[in-house]
Symmetry: C2
DNA sequence: TTATTTTCCGGCAACGTTCCCGACAACGAT
DNA sequence: ATCGTTGTCGGGAACGTTGCCGGAAAATAA
């Protein structure tokens, strides 16, 4: 490998370590003459500073940890894409971890990120997380954390979210305007922040349009395919909805499959709307209108916010919550 | 942050640095007595070794670079998922980069991975890459590289690929058995290794079934949506295929959209088969049989191979090419 | 001329870790 | 009593950087 160090340059040029170091950082203490020599030689031998040594010296790693429930999920991978685009511009690199929706893994992963000396963290919480002491203890150490999408119920922290309430409201309103009366809501487990907010939006839209909220039409559904089958079957058999508002990518896939495979006649005429970033939404067997989250942009915003915090390490950056609008796509 | 060092422990216990270090690494040179003390104290103060200092000392970073064309592509994110699962088991962390299909970015990204002192690299080449000098120069420095999916035409290197020839053969044969005679082939740009291999499989299947290869039915298509529209329109208007074999995730999406929007009658009866990892293939408006690559497994194999190379740093690991089977999923 | 400031550079320590080398007991063997 | 052994530990250097301190030569001021 190419392992030329500052010392090698110093020896070759017959000058000292620190002179080389300063010349390379364009210090005013070094004459233009020697600067030129050093830079020329460094380029000739293809010198690159050793980032590990720099990290040790500066106590910074120029890496940011990203923790998501699943990488192989279109929504999250788009977010990562956005994070990456901003981070690489600022010469940070992105180290990705996944929890697979496990609380245990979330704890150990955060621990790992900390001990690996990442400069900061961008995270979306796992499904199982309903205790936040691991978060609090990391935050008490002044470790910079940006939450996105699935955020904890903590006041003073940095958050990037989409306007779930409004998105769900729009989706529900759209179904109402299409003449639907019994709009079922299939959503993620109730611990998640997004679940609560979307549910609130759904209920508000119903109330504002004088439709009574029927709790029987609201179903929390796990992410296993069979969960969706059970929920869909029960719903269609007993509740007779005329439409369904499904939240989240994975639920949408599972539910669509369950609906497609449901033998009853009612399943054929269901109006469907999803809260999802599925790229194939317009190619499905049944047109699927969607609320689409600005995933890439959320990643960008989260990364920008984190880097702002990192760069202004001494001044305090006020905690803020960035709320992005969702888009209603009618198909 | 929690920044206790070996020195802190040494001072607190009134022993030397090196004794602490050795005690923590369970050296035989240290008495069980002091070992126990050190370990107990380390645990009490929640000591974690500083990986950056270790990296500097050992000249290893315990990180592996992964370069893909696009993160937000289901195939690649599943591969990354596989890589991550193996790497994290071995305490390596995964640093992800994307080229956005740009040759320039591929070069600079590899340079970045090298200067960031990753221990090794797993890469799938960009679309534009048809010169391999950047690869060669990295390999000459003995930098461990594993290629997957889109591999370079280099003999002596580590590769993980799927059996593209066989996959394309199976897909084409399947269409023939369904009675199709004019099977068009829409595929990625011809520089890619996967393009050539799949094309060869396609042709072989036709020949083996006494169907003449019609070069007019073979279309190379870029990844922009409009590219697919142009290709599909031309095909349907002039070549009258009775079925289409589309390669790659992104092409499949674009082509399906183009076909769906094509006004002609012929487009309705087209038999379709894709070479893709689309999760929604069974939910599309038209049933899409697919050749499915074992993406997760490819990631696993690539990571396992890389780690094997890294761990046996002195002995030479023979270059090898791992070929994984594809699955024909009929819908 | 002498005094004072610049200009330019080298020496050294430090970041946290590991490893080589040597030291100094205690021990049994000669 | 002397000599090697064994067990246990400390000192110091090194990984590649950067920053502080100080110092010699050159330039300017007196």
């Amino acid at each position: 490998m190419n392992n030329i160090t500052i010392k090698d340059i110093a020896n070759a040029l017959g000058i000292s370590n620190s002179t080389v170091s300063r010349a390379l950082r364009d210090s005013h203490e070094i004459s233009e003459d020697t600067k030129a020599k050093v830079i020329a030689y460094a380029k000739a031998v293809n010198y690159h500073p050793n980032p590990i040594a720099q990290s040790l010296r500066e106590n910074k790693s120029y890496s940011i940890g990203v923790i998501v429930p699943e990488i192989a999920n279109n929504y999250f991978s788009e977010v990562i894409n956005g994070i990456d685009s901003v981070a690489s511009q600022h010469d940070y690199h992105v180290v990705i971890y996944q929890t697979h929706e496990s609380y245990e893994r979330e704890i150990s992963t955060i621990q790992h990120v900390l001990s690996r000396k990442a400069d900061g963290l961008i995270i979306s919480l796992s499904l199982e997380t309903n205790d936040y002491s691991h978060i609090h203890s990391a935050m008490e150490d002044n470790f910079p954390i940006i939450f996105f999408d699935r955020v904890p119920p903590i006041e003073n922290c940095y958050k990037v979210v989409s306007d779930n309430y409004e998105g769900a409201y729009k989706a529900t309103k759209h179904m109402i305007e299409k003449g639907k009366k019994r709009i079922a809501h299939i959503t993620s487990p109730p611990v998640l922040s997004i679940t609560k907010e979307r549910l609130a939006g759904y209920k508000a839209a119903l109330k504002d349009n004088n439709i009574e909220v029927d709790d029987q039409l609201i179903k929390y559904c796990g992410f296993e395919p069979k969960d969706a089958f059970v929920v869909i079957d029960e719903l269609i058999k007993n509740q007779k909805p005329d439409s369904i508002f499904v939240c989240s990518d994975r639920l949408a896939l599972n539910c669509l499959e369950a609906i497609k495979n449901n033998p009853s006649e009612e399943s054929k005429d269901l109006g469907l709307i999803g809260y999802t970033n599925l790229k194939t939404a317009n190619l499905l067997y049944t047109p699927l209108s969607t609320i689409r989250q600005p995933a890439f942009e959320m990643g960008e915003k989260a990364a920008e916010l984190l880097i702002k915090v990192l760069k202004s390490k001494n001044q305090i950056v006020d905690f803020e919550t960035i709320i992005l609008k969702n888009e209603l796509i009618i198909r």
